[in-house]
């Protein structure tokens, strides 16, 4: 069995998350993936914003930086550029990374900076009590959408691809072995990597969808029944894919990485060009 204790600040447990929250599942997946990299804990910097998901770094035994709402990628960019030897990982909720942090998200993708972002995508603002986020399903009730959400959603995968991320995967908190694999590959990838993890918050979101879910188990079943692996999706029509979401490694490519590029610039200047 995997020994989590090496990576945990055990004294900081129990964590703050509700029973049935998807965050804990992704947390363990991340720890296993981190362990598999074999990286020195002293050289890992785990950065987050604000939200339930963003409390995660406090539980991990490495360099941890809990920033301000939406700003994790901005801080992380400073860490990585100033100290390229660090392995920089950002964990962030959907509100944190896509609403208030949306600008930093698109520019981290564009720069292709060697950072891994794991989006804890529960489709709601958990910490503040269930207001709708950029990924709340259309029509779902939320604390600020009492009559149902009338806003369209971001597709994190398409957004990341469109902005230039060079590794983009989507997993769920139900399909855990696959999630381990996506996160591990994202960590090993050189360049900006995004793992969109579809998960659930029953406490503030599920509870309000009276006809959809009776409990958080129903939300897990929803993930099981609506996730379509990429290979299967390719054989399905748009009609058949309606209401489903596609999991797998959507995008993996090589492009000049920002920090290396900057270092190359420094080296060329030292070469006496200037």
């Amino acid at each position: 069995m995997f020994d989590y204790s090496t990576y945990l600040r055990s004294a900081k447990l129990p964590h703050i998350w509700c029973p049935g929250c998807g965050h804990g599942i992704i947390f363990k997946s991340l720890l296993r993936a981190m362990a598999k990299t074999g990286w020195n804990k002293d050289e890992i910097v785990l950065v987050s914003g604000i939200g339930c998901a963003s409390r995660l770094p406090g539980y991990v035994d490495c360099n941890t930086l809990h920033t301000a709402h939406g700003r994790a990628l901005a801080f992380a960019t400073g860490v990585k550029l100033s100290q390229p030897k660090f392995h920089v990982i950002v964990v962030s909720g959907d509100g944190d990374s896509l609403a208030i942090g949306g600008n930093h998200f698109i520019h981290a993708c564009r720069r292709n900076i060697d950072i891994t972002l794991v989006v804890f995508n529960n489709g709601i603002y958990g910490m503040t009590g269930g207001q709708y986020s950029p990924t709340t399903p259309y029509g779902d009730k939320a604390a600020t959408a009492p009559y149902g959400n009338v806003e369209p959603q971001f597709d994190v995968v398409e957004l990341a691809k469109g902005c230039g991320a060079t590794f983009v995967a989507r997993g769920t908190s139900f399909h855990v072995p696959q999630l381990d694999d996506y996160i591990y590959k994202a960590l090993m990838h050189k360049g900006f990597s995004v793992v969109d993890v579809v998960e659930a918050c029953y406490t503030t979101h599920g509870r309000k969808q009276k006809t959809k879910y009776k409990n958080n188990l129903d939300m897990m079943k929803w993930q099981r029944d609506n996730a379509v692996p990429l290979s299967k999706a390719q054989t399905m029509s748009a009609e058949e894919l309606k209401g489903k979401f596609v999991t797998g490694i959507h995008h993996e490519t090589e492009r000049r990485e920002f920090v290396e590029n900057y270092q190359a610039l420094i080296d060329s200047l030292k070469g006496g060009k200037k």
């Binding site: 360099n63 901005a74 400073g78 100033s82 660090f86 930093h104 520019h107």
Partner: protein, 377 residues
């Protein structure tokens, strides 16, 4: 005049030179008039010495990036003007509570909003003090010459590193863009302070341990494994809501700068000893005020100038004795009375003559004198 090579440079460039002299190795910024020359200069010079420059996507990202770099061990800086300074406020508070050394240069321009992008103002004197939410420490320096743009930037880094707190430099469009004679000091000529690092043997378990009046002493990332947060935290760096710890730590980050005021305070006084007309002014307004003081002295009027170079914390100990003796206190400033609100805490308002200009023009001696005349009638 000291020996050496003199050049003719702009205030903004002197500021950037000061940053390099102090050992700044990371700059994150976003272009905005009238501060942009600082970013441009850093983008050219930093990579030549192995440092890093990044143009971030906005000013919030800029200050976020410099905090990240500072925690990783770099001396770091950003520069901006009014609108960008407003955007930075939340994270200035972050740097205060998490005790992250960094330098923020605000070359002030007219406001509010986009205001007068290319014109001078002293619009953010109070924002520098009160802009971010919550009680917090503020150190802000106001240079009034090209040379001071250099020396005060070096001092800003020193104070940031020593006190582990963000330090704000308030330039303005005049000081930033004007050119004056300038000599780059030799290495070693000015003191350069580096942050104190703890002896960490293995894990640093209490990075925020500090005696009641001192800055915390954190390792840099990589030297230990610890936690940094903008939540109220205890000595271990982890969040706490324990009322006594929160009371203590919220007080400590402020007490740490008041406790060692002598390291922060800096005022320049001219003829204050017997001054009946005491001028209080900072930055470019102080240059105009100085001319008025000289003119009045020539006429036999006992005028004096009190110029805080460190504006925040306000040098009240130095100011009060002069303010008490003076018959009139004249406060020329390029805003509608920001410094005046401070003065009126120490002097009766009948004694105070405000001189305010917010039309984008430099405050000149004639305007100051005519305003005083009008008020005296």
């Amino acid at each position: 005049m000291k020996e050496g090579k003199y050049t003719f440079v702009q205030g903004n460039i002197a500021c950037a030179e000061g940053a390099l002299y102090a050992g700044c190795s990371f700059f994150g910024g976003y272009p905005i008039t009238p501060s942009t020359e600082i970013a441009e200069f850093m983008s050219e010079k930093l990579p030549l010495r192995g440092g890093k420059f990044i143009q971030m996507e906005d000013e919030i990202a800029s200050i976020g990036s410099i905090i990240g770099a500072a925690l990783s061990g770099a001396k770091s800086m950003t520069s901006t003007s009014g609108p960008g300074f407003s955007l930075m406020q939340e994270l200035i508070g972050y740097a205060c509570i998490a005790e992250v050394p960094c330098v923020i240069v605000n070359v002030m321009r007219g406001g509010p909003s986009t205001g007068l992008p290319t014109s001078p103002a002293q619009s953010d004197l109070l924002q520098a003090k009160w802009g971010t939410h919550g009680d917090h420490p503020t150190i802000a320096l106001v240079p009034n010459s090209v040379e001071e743009m250099f020396t005060e930037t070096v001092r800003a880094f020193n104070l940031a590193e020593y006190f582990r707190t963000p330090v704000i430099i308030l330039g303005d469009e005049i000081i930033g863009h004007m050119r004056e004679k300038f000599r780059l000091p030799e290495p070693g000529e000015l003191e350069v302070i580096d942050r104190k690092l703890p002896d960490v043997d293995g894990l640093c378990r209490l990075p925020y341990r500090a005696d009641g009046k001192h800055p915390a002493c954190l390792p840099n990332f990589g030297a230990s494994r610890f936690h940094v947060t903008g939540l109220n935290h205890d000595e271990s760096g982890f969040p706490t809501m324990d009322p006594s710890i929160v009371q203590e730590s919220n007080s400590r980050i402020i007490d740490k700068i008041y406790h060692q005021r002598e390291l922060i305070d800096k005022v320049e006084t001219k003829y204050c000893e017997d001054a009946e007309m005491l001028f209080l002014a900072v930055g470019s307004a102080a240059r105009a005020a100085e001319e008025v003081v000289e003119e009045y002295r020539r006429k036999g009027i006992k005028a004096g100038l009190f110029r805080p170079v460190t504006l925040w914390p306000f040098p009240k100990k130095q100011f009060i004795p002069y303010a008490e003796k003076a018959k009139k206190i004249i406060v020329p400033e390029m805003n509608l009375g920001q410094l005046r609100t401070v003065v009126e805490r120490f002097a009766r308002s009948e004694k105070v003559i405000p001189v305010n200009l917010v039309n984008g023009e430099p405050l000149d001696p004639e305007f100051i004198m005519s305003t005083i005349e009008k008020c005296s009638k």
